[in-house]
Symmetry: C2
Subunit: 360 residues, 2 copies
Amino acid sequence: MQEISTIPQLNINLNNVKDNYQFLKSISFGAKTAAVVKDDAYGIGAREVVKLLSKEGCDTFFIAHATEAIDIRDIVPNATIYVLNGIGQGTIDIFKKYNLTPVISNPTALKFWNDSKIPNIKPAIQIDTGLNRLGFSLQQIKDISEEARSNFSLVMSHLSCGDAIGHFMNTHQLENFQKVLTYFPNIPASLSASDGAMLGKEFTFDMVRLGAALYGINTAPYRQNQVKSVVELKAPILQIKDLPIGEFVGYGASYRAHSESKIAIISIGYGDGIFRSLSNTGRVWIGDYEAKILGRVSMDMITIDVTNIPEDILISNNYATLLNDKYTLDNMANDAGTIGYEILSRIGKGQRYVKNYKQG
Amino acid sequence: MQEISTIPQLNINLNNVKDNYQFLKSISFGAKTAAVVKDDAYGIGAREVVKLLSKEGCDTFFIAHATEAIDIRDIVPNATIYVLNGIGQGTIDIFKKYNLTPVISNPTALKFWNDSKIPNIKPAIQIDTGLNRLGFSLQQIKDISEEARSNFSLVMSHLSCGDAIGHFMNTHQLENFQKVLTYFPNIPASLSASDGAMLGKEFTFDMVRLGAALYGINTAPYRQNQVKSVVELKAPILQIKDLPIGEFVGYGASYRAHSESKIAIISIGYGDGIFRSLSNTGRVWIGDYEAKILGRVSMDMITIDVTNIPEDILISNNYATLLNDKYTLDNMANDAGTIGYEILSRIGKGQRYVKNYKQG
């Protein structure tokens, strides 16, 4: 090691977020392209993403909780910010102060909204077309007066299986949504997030709500990823040592050396969002060489097998790479037993990274 | 629902952290009780914990990265703050500015430390007694001059299986550590974290490094938890609805209703640190009633089965409870396929909670 470092690095390529936005726009058949920036833009950083995309002409954003607007409203004073999890007693003042637009998902919420008498805001209405999460049922729509139905800015629903082309649920939800729209004849409609937007023209309607694909996640796993990878993650190598045969590695002594090995300890762990389920299963990269994770991932350190990595490669690299454009969020998710969304959400919350944004 | 709310709540009982500290002190056979506050005190909040424990007489703290000291040094200007992942070129200025003490874990790091010529600080030395993570080997100790060996403030090692009473690794590491100490005759010694501290007198030496058990995690799972639970987690119920037979729930349509059911959608998800591995497996509580998680945990919402919960209980509770003193971090970890440490580390990083600290 030429130089000793200890802090892991998270590099975020905003140019690729921009390219992904423009690519997704190009395949959205003229639908408005809104950006979903909830959960700190899935971990990428909501302020940076909103700043970037507003320059690209994006004027509509979705968050889950009203409080998430506090971080971004000043950047886009005139944009529409929809709040997916709705409005409640505890957040009504934030809605007023930050000029937010609720997504109304059930009759109780609609009554609360009407009673709140916030002027000049037309909420969205969420319809449950088969996901069985938030949303009005088709029956409940009929109980809303025709006049009240004309008072929404958006009628929306959400697909359960948009990542699976040809899934029967997509057809089922699409048909239900088309029935819904007959009750909202002049209201803009939105059915699809990133995954649904890639299913083709019949799914794009007036607006698509782009989230995961903006951030490099493959939301259409039935084919090669169409978007660019956004995150690179590196952790310093703290120590390299020989592991004699028969020795154990890490907590619970869950790995035992079957042959003379060489190990490295890298400065990152589940405290930084690296899944503990990668214990004895995951891998990292030194240059182009794969190094398997040995033993359990601990809070601040991971031990890796560098036995087969040439000495000059080990000497010239001070860092192990955990994510890049070859080993992506989706690849790591596959090794960890989850999805890229959860990986990114975790890593994005790491408080100990040197975080670099690449742009321009 | 009497009132609509949308934001999840994380309640942290600092009184119990204090009680846990005093309990652990009482069973530490007079050893100094240092507090491990890395990873934002495992998610509890490093500033709050350091403030609290310094009043209890704790004057030694451990963090993983030098940068973690920035958050706490002003609270304890005179305390010793050890940095477990060591000192590097990129953090040397932080060590100087915040008066930090590195843990030196290998010959390269020792040379770097000596070359840095930081005055008035005596580092700790980490020895690898069998964990095969960071640390000098027994052979490498012998290469350090006797004079240099007398210049450390602490000689430490770390157990791999301290949570398993009677594990052969504990005896093995204890014997190795005793050999190590013959090379450091007058230096205070520390072998155990919370788990090792509970293994009995021969494991406590001069200092124990208390982490997980302070925060309510059962680090001695071979017996009932000896420490008090610290976190309570609640999520608002956003909507309750009927689920007709044959309907699917959530992404991937992974759950299907076999009978007429009633479901509730709660305002929390993996974006708040709730493991996606709890999909179709985990449970939450409405009052004293268990409600199973149906379908996949999504980023901001979870669907639960409330079919068997009496109407009056559903009406009088606006929140579902995800963690409390009956269903603890360890219970949730068991359902999620991990350990309480990782659960707490995740939840503690949630940026969308209303976070309340109870104290006094």
